[in-house]
């Protein structure tokens, strides 16, 4: 079953540059779907369309549909003007390329999304903190210093904190935009392993920072080139036997 169904998505920036052209893509549930390709391909833009973070940017013309399905099978169009965007962002979490921790304590970072949603019960907040840190494989490292400022953590820990932060509201989808681009190889491996665990319960859409990471993690992969979706195939086949010549050229390293 497709968790997210994108139909005929076009998107332009306010200065006229085209970002996405006629994207048709189905993102399967409970799997890691990787969006890869050279810079400027529109991958990050697509991610930010899914959680309507593009509303903050200079985006003008958007057309098409982005359908998000829930557990019961009911769908909403993410691009609908009347949509409750706040509720949407609680269903779709995001991790950014640089670990952006809020200027709060570790606990504060994690409880932030619950608090703005109105949650005040301390037990539920504490439970959410422990649960999300455990899922992000960070609990043992920080459980004794939850009140320390989040900036005191190392880069790799901060990024895993951001991952935990995105899990607190138990979203349905997690979007990750080059989450390991600044991290050392050990932290990168930890994050990738965590994603493999998380995909059992969440739908994951990942923009990798290298083709190798894409090959390691992808259950499904979509190749983007200059705003167009060139190919969408299972991860096992797209890197070894791509259908489109352009995909093959990129995977082989002939351009990039």
């Amino acid at each position: 079953m497709d968790k997210i169904l994108i139909e005929h998505l076009f998107l332009n920036y306010s200065d006229g540059t085209e970002s996405l052209r006629d994207i048709n893509l189905g993102i399967p549930a409970y799997a890691i779907t990787v969006l890869f390709g050279p810079a400027g391909g529109g991958k990050s833009t697509l991610l930010r369309t899914i959680n309507r973070l593009n509303d903050l940017a200079d985006v003008t013309a958007v057309s098409g549909r982005v359908m998000l399905a829930d557990q019961a099978g009911a769908v909403v169009d993410v691009l609908d003007h009347h949509l409750d965007v706040i509720a949407l962002r609680r269903r779709v979490g995001m991790v950014f390329a640089r670990p952006i921790v809020l200027p709060l304590s570790i606990r504060g970072n994690l409880t932030y999304s619950l608090e703005v949603a109105g949650e005040r019960d301390k037990t539920r907040l504490e439970a959410a903190v422990e649960r999300s840190l455990t899922q992000a494989a960070l609990w043992d490292e920080v459980k004794d210093r939850l009140d320390d400022p989040a900036v005191a953590l190392s880069g790799g820990q901060q990024q895993r904190l951001c991952l935990a932060r995105s899990l607190v509201l138990e979203p349905e989808v997690i979007l990750l935009d080059e989450p390991t681009s600044g991290l050392d190889p050990i932290s990168t491996t930890k994050v990738e392993a965590t994603l493999q665990e998380l995909k059992k319960r969440y739908t994951i859409v990942l923009v990798p920072h290298s083709v190798q990471q894409a090959a390691r993690t992808a259950d499904y992969a979509a190749f983007f080139l200059q705003g167009e979706l060139v190919e969408f195939s299972p991860g096992k086949t797209i890197f070894t036997a791509p259908r489109d010549k352009r995909t093959e050229d990129y995977v082989e390293g002939r351009f990039g």
Partner: protein, 295 residues
């Protein structure tokens, strides 16, 4: 990027150039230090001569003998009333306006006009504010010469300082925090209230102190709107006139024959210490906050 170099430098021998540099540096440092020293002297004279007049009775006592003796407590209280009075109006308005400019204002002609208006307000001479306060608050709105009229006039005068300092403090909070907060499902205002304002707080406090410092030290705006020289008792309501330190200093140094110099220096001392103290506090808050930033 290459700078526009005007002449061929290498024609002068190295020794001359270095000598010129030595003399030049010396001259500049001399000018700077001399200027700073003279101003330091100015402040120092007042402080030294004024300090001798400062006794408990001077600060907390009432004037007597036609102002030629006794204390200046009513003037101090009056200045505090004016500071607080102007703060009541200018702080919410100034912070609100800076939140608007930093977080909500679109990049269009209207916003540009607002900024021009703020620059205009910043440049208006203090005596013109006094005229305005007289025309609108004292006369047209019938408040009479009162703390209220003076506070309102001072509030509008303080506004540009508060707005520009606060806005800068808010703008310096990294944009990334806003993006993250929104992606976690917060509304625009929740982001402002929970992240931006707390992080910008030291800058806001600095701005407010600097704005109120003008309320403490300016004479012209309160000349026709609030101040009186001799009042038999402390003001009871916002519609009363009040004594105030800057006005008091002005009158006792220009219009009272036979005024003992000690009292004049003492009054100047109190005013100077108050204003410079506020300035110092603002500077300290600003630099401590810069050191403690979490980004």
């Amino acid at each position: 990027m290459s700078p526009k170099v005007k002449r061929n430098f290498k024609t002068k021998p190295i020794i001359t150039r270095n000598l010129v540099q030595l003399l030049g540096f010396g001259a500049l440092s001399g000018i700077t230090l001399l200027t700073m020293f003279l101003i330091f002297l100015l402040v120092g004279v007042i402080i030294v001569r004024g300090a001798s007049a400062i006794t408990f009775d001077f600060i907390f006592g009432y004037p007597s003998n036609g102002m030629k003796a006794g204390g200046i407590w009513p003037a101090i209280v009056g200045t505090i009333y004016l500071i607080l009075g102007s703060a009541i109006f200018s702080v919410p308005l100034g912070i609100g306006a800076s939140i608007y400019l930093s977080e909500y204002a679109p990049d269009n002609r209207l916003t540009q006009i607002i900024r021009i208006a703020i620059i205009t307000l910043a440049g208006i001479p203090s005596v013109v504010y006094g005229l305005f306060g007289l025309g609108l608050f004292v006369l047209y709105m019938n408040m009479g010469t009162s703390i209220l009229a003076g506070s309102l006039t001072l509030a509008i005068m303080n506004l540009p300082v508060i707005i520009s300092t606060t806005e800068e403090a808010m703008r310096s909070v990294p944009q990334a925090f806003r993006v993250v907060s929104i992606s976690l499902g917060a509304t625009h205002w929740q982001t402002i209230r929970r992240i931006i304002l707390p992080q910008a707080l030291p800058g806001m406090i600095t701005g407010v102190i600097l704005g109120l410092e003008r309320a403490a030290g300016e004479t012209a705006p309160i000349l026709f709107t609030a101040a009186a020289f001799y009042l038999p008792r402390l003001p009871h309501s916002p519609f009363d006139q009040t004594m105030a330190l800057p006005y008091h200093l002005y009158v006792i140094s220009t219009q009272v024959p036979g005024m003992p110099q000690e009292i004049q220096y003492g009054t100047a001392f109190v005013l100077l210490v108050l204003v410079l103290g506020m300035n110092l506090a603002a500077t300290v808050i600003r630099s401590r906050a810069r050191a403690r930033r979490q980004w």
